[in-house]
Structure formats: C-alpha cells, structure tokens
Amino acid sequence: MAKIQGTAWVAKTYVMSFDMIIQRFWTAPIDPVENSKWVMAGVDEAFNRENGFVDQGYTFIVAGHNFAGGGKSIEHCVTGLMGAGIKAVFATSFARLQFRNAINYGLPFVTCRDMNLHCATGDVLEYDPETGIIQNLSNGQTFQSLPQEPFVSEVAEAGGLLEFVKRKIADGTVAELR
C-alpha cells in the first residue's frame, strides 16, 4: 500500500459518535457522500453547516482517548468520514463500536498513543500503512503506530466485510470461518 499524505484535523477534546453524526441523521440511509455532508456537525461549531467538514479537505484525524465514543452503533460515523475524504484516523484509543465499523468498511482506525499532543490542526502528515510509521512533515516528529492485524487488511482489500463474506459464501468457505 502506498504512503498517504495530507493535512490533519486534531481533536482538542473527546470526539463522540453522537456529535459526529447528529441525531436527525441517525436513521438516514448509509451513503458515504450523503453521510459526509453533515459529518462532525456536532463536534465543532465550524463544521455545523452543509459540507462544513468536507470543505476543510482534511485527510487525517488525530485524537486522544475514546475516539467516536458514546456508544452509538450507527455506521454513518465511519461512512461519513470516508465520504469526506478521510483516509485514516489516529487516536490513543478508540471506542469499540466505531472501531469495528471502521474495520468493516476498511477505513484505518490506527492506534497511536498521544499523537494528539504533538500535532496541530493543519499539519501535513505522511502515513505509511506498511510500516505503521506516521511522519509529521510540519514539525518533523515521527510516530510508530500499532501494526494492523492481517484480518483487518484482508477485509479492507476485499472492500469491506460484506464483500469479504460474500466471497466466502460464493466459494463455499464461509463455514470455515473461525
């Protein structure tokens, strides 16, 4: 996988799932472009307008503990970020529901401790998915993230969990999953 370069938005406080997708969109159909229009609307007043987050053109999100916490199971948090052009999220820890959803959609949620303390919004980062190394090109700092599990990469390469399972059903190997 090629290296990814782009600018980052750095969270100052907890980022909660119910702020990433505000209540009136919880039952909306899952569609990355549609979901991206109001993604992060409750996180920061600056994003609280149509395409408020998309228009910033960020490639990465950097956060502290419990990213996407608050316990919502809705998948729009992940599809909304994908529709907004986010290629990876780096955080000290992730809330488990959205961590799952991210794996199931193939968006890297990468565990990297305290990176939020050493990055600022607008910094240019370069992420190497092969090595897990993230460089902050704006301030010269380097971070080593936890490597991805092979299963996570397999699901991402298949284009998400549905495609992954669909292939297993098609080739008759779904019963072998264990």
């Binding site: 907890y14 909660m16 119910f18 209540q23 919880w26 039952t27 159909p29 899952i30 409750g42 503990h65 419990n66 916490g69 608050g70 316990g71 919502k72 199971s73 809705i74 998948e75 000290t92 820890s93 992730f94 809330a95 488990r96 529901l97 961590f99 799952r100 959803n101 199931n104 959609y105 599990e149 299963f151 998400g160 969990l161 549905l162 399972v165 669909k166 059903i169 779904v174 999953l177 264990r178």
Partner: protein, 422 residues
Amino acid sequence: MGMTITEKIMAQNSGRDRVVPGQLVWTDVHTVMTMDYLGKQTFNKLHDLGVTDVFDKDRVICVSDHLVPPPTEQFATMLNQWREAVREHDITHFYDLGRQGIAHQIMVEQGHVLPGKISIGTDSHANTYGAVGAVGNAVGVTDAAVAMATGKAWFRVPESVKFVIKGEWQPWVMAKDLSLYIMGMMHWNGHLIYKSLELEGPAISALDMAGRMTLCNMTVDLGAKNGIIAPDEITAAYLAPVAKGSWSPLASDPDAHYDAIYEVDVTNVGPTLAMPDKLDDIVPVEKVVGRKFNKAFVGTCTNGRVEDFAMMAKILKGKQVHRSVNMLAVPASQTVYLESLKLGYIQTLIEAGVAIDTPSCAACAGIHTGVAGDGDVVLSAGNRNMKGRMGSKNAQIFLTSPAVVAVSAITGEITDPRTFSL
C-alpha cells in the same frame, strides 16, 4: 494459565480449546437482535450480501422499541417498511407494538440470551446480556447482517478487568448507584476501553437479576466491550421458566489473567448522580441536594424493570409528586407493565401523579414520549446525559437511580432518600 469467563465463551463458541486477548476469532452467535430503528437497514445489508434466508428464524430476534407508538408520519412509514422486512423473512420472534418492550429487556426476560453463549444486537446496550453470563455485544448493521446470514461474527478477544464488589448494600442504594460510582472511579480516559468487565463478589451474588442487568447495561457507557456476571442460582431460577435453549454453568478459572482487579466496598456507596452533560462527572447525592428540576423520568433498558417500579411505588405510596415537577415512568416491556399493574405499583404511581406510558425507549434517546425542551432540568434514571440526548441541547440531564428520582419528585428538589421518612 486459566481463562476468564469471556475468554472461555469465545473459545467454546469458536471451536477452540483456548483463546488469548488480542486474538481475532470468528464465533458462533446464539441470537442476533435488531430493532425498528436500524432493522430495515440490517435487512437491506442482508440483501446486499445476496442472502434471502436468515441462518435460523428462531434466533433472529426483532423488536419494535425506539419508534413505537410512532409519533410522526415519517416514523410510522419507517415502521411499516420494517414490519414488511421482518415478515418477508418469516421471523419467529417479532415483538411488535402490543407485545413490545425495549429490545434488551425482551432479550433477557424472554430467554433469548443464555449463559456461555454470544448474542449481538444493533443497539449499544446489548452489554445487558452479560447479566445472565452471556457475552452481549453491540454491533453495527453490517455485522448484524453477516450474523443473520451466517450465524457468525468476528471478535477481537478482549483483555479482562475484574471488579470485586464486597460489603453490604445500604438502604435506598441501588445497582444504578454502583454503576455511576464505578463511572466516577474509571472515567472515559481509556482504562476500560475495549475491555471485558467482569463483576463478582458477595454484593453481586446478593443482587437480583434486575440489578445485574442495570450493572451490565451501563458497562458500554464505561467503554467496555462487555460486562459479565457468572451464572449462579439466581440466574438459573430466573432462566428456568423462560430459557429458549439449554445451557451449562461456567465461570472464570481461579488463575485467569486480569489486566487489573479493582475492589469496591458497596457499604461506602450511597445514592449517586451524574452531573448534566458528562457521564463521568459523578457526585454523591449530598453534593447536589436542593437542586431544583422540573422533569422526572424513570424507564429505559437501564431502570425500567419491575424492581424499579417497586422502589418508586414504595416511595410514592400515599404521597404526591410536587406541583413543579412532571414525572413520567415507562415500563421496559409489556411483561414488566403487566406485572407492575398486578402488583399495584402502577395504580400507586398514578395516584401519586405520575404519568405512565406504554413500553418503549421513550425519551431516553430523545425521539419521542417526554423529550426535553429548552430550559428543562431532567432528573432521569436513564443511561446517558449528553447535551441534546433527550431533545433540546438547552436542557440539562442529571442521571441517578429510580429511588433518588422518586424521592426528589415528591420534594421538587434533589433529595437524599436516606433523609426522607416514608
């Protein structure tokens, strides 16, 4: 080295002798729950998979809880589409309006979750199922659809953390107070994220199933992957008339590994509240006594059970809700409603000036039935208090136990039940 109960369940249900934390495994799923709110999306995903039949019609459980009875045309239409999808798949257990309840209550009280098995649901409080010694886990609609098609789900085996709860429960102190107390101990800063949270000790053994459900329910709000209590005689007695399937007792090995073991003496836990907006901003009731509020709410998958209605009725018997307070109580299921009716609790509450509504998630998710408006100060026995959770962002929500809500509803200000004479 031995295994924790959660590790054992993941091993047994994935055909392995043992698993270790961090391992990714596909396990068999005993039951898959989906509800009106996300159910149609779940069935859509099933179709995207190219699958027409669910893996077992008896083990896909469908419940109407978030949107019933529908308050708007939009929700009524959503419900119609949902019902059509459920019927199309000929699902055996469909708890629709008339037989409804909050999904997590239904799953446990109707015996759809069993010790030693794994059940998943498309709503975050699926952690509740740990009360009977099951691994209960919330998932998104993609995972639920995959499980509906295959009877399987993938899991990362979690590290385990144990809470040993000792001491004696004090009068007027409920499982909810302990939940909030633990929230105050652990906060949201990572200690319990993705962990399996196991509860044991004499004060847990002394707890009825309703209290165990409350404790496991709120482990999701602590960031835990699951909360679990090993099955015992109380579990067995509860499940005997309802269990849909057989089960065997199991427990953690004495030499199982825990990332951390915490001890709490429940003797020191008093009535406890979460301050508005932040679930981990926890205070003992003494700190907020006298605070005025105008809405009181008891219900939800956290505190809408018969035992919660019993506590409210005990406090409100022969008393009146203060004129400055509107109090709403919503049973967690039709079974809870009927039982509370037979035991006289509903009549007591109505005579005290409490409004009762038909079972649903009600105002907890801010969707309908008692939502909060600008300027409201709500004293709630629900599970979440973030800005806007129950409606307006300009409302405040204190979380606490049904006992604190009921006592405070009489005085019109937050009151310590221990200082109140019946």
